[in-house]
Symmetry: C2
Subunit: 159 residues, 2 copies
């Protein structure tokens, strides 16, 4: 029934609440809210990662872990698979979602593009957190060119 939408509703409220409470509407205040959202996503991603079946915790290849994110994790959270995965085979991965659920409800005009980052920060953290539980350190950023499509860039941090 409604459970698939629950995460989306809660995420919307969380973003709205953090923005309402941001100490000021300056770029600095917004950046802090983004980093708070990213941190929440990271911890949720870690917790999700810890619930994964043990066999998945030992991927032989980094690429397997990324495929796992695109398929299993994405389906668990967004009820769909990622639409594309590319890599330069040097530790950088581009994950493409053509209809990212958290952006779908946004009106599609260029004037809304600047609103997009706050709907992506939590998910960047979620990807980073899940990878972290899989033993992979990464930096994750996101970009939007045409709503509601977006790309997540994962850069693996070698020790």
């Amino acid at each position: 029934m409604a459970d698939a939408a629950l995460f989306e509703f809660l995420h919307t409220e969380m973003v709205a609440e953090l923005w309402a409470r941001a100490p000021n509407p300056s770029p600095g205040g917004q950046k802090m809210s983004l980093s708070v959202l990213e941190g929440m996503g990271f911890r949720v991603g870690q917790a999700l990662g810890e619930r994964l079946p043990r066999e998945t915790l030992a991927f032989r290849e980094e690429l397997d872990a990324l495929k796992f994110l695109c398929k299993d994790v994405w389906t668990a959270v967004y009820q769909k698979q990622m639409d594309g995965l590319r890599t330069n085979h040097q530790g950088t991965y581009i994950l493409q979602d053509n209809d990212f659920p958290l952006l779908v409800r946004m009106a599609a005009g260029p004037q809304y593009l600047e609103e997009a980052p706050k709907f992506l920060a939590f998910t960047c953290g979620l990807l980073r957190g899940t990878l972290s539980t899989l033993g992979i350190k990464s930096l994750v950023t996101a970009s939007v060119t045409t709503l509601p499509a977006c790309k997540f860039q994962v850069v693996i941090q070698r020790a």
Copy 2:
């Protein structure tokens, strides 16, 4: 897979974040955080309510709406049904959950009882919001006597 736990993880992060940001640890600051959580729950409940099949939007009896909360809404959010529903037939309903999922992870000692309200506020709002979408105004409070059991008291507000 992990999707059933997603709401729980996100709720935990939300509570932690609001408490970390409370202007001060005084009873006043905590009360404000509780009311913020209740408000978020209310809006999520409204949104859930709006997704319900149309036929459910016109319950003939108030009691039918409450049964719907206990069965369908609870299952959608917590993957279980409420364990008990009592009423004085004068507009007050007691909903009993013997293993409320958001309290299950808390250690069961009397010293943790005072922590319980912050894990109940969102759900009080959720119940109030769903009822509101069904056209029923209410006040919802919660109490805990033995973790992880809790009771939600719904008092219908007549016009």
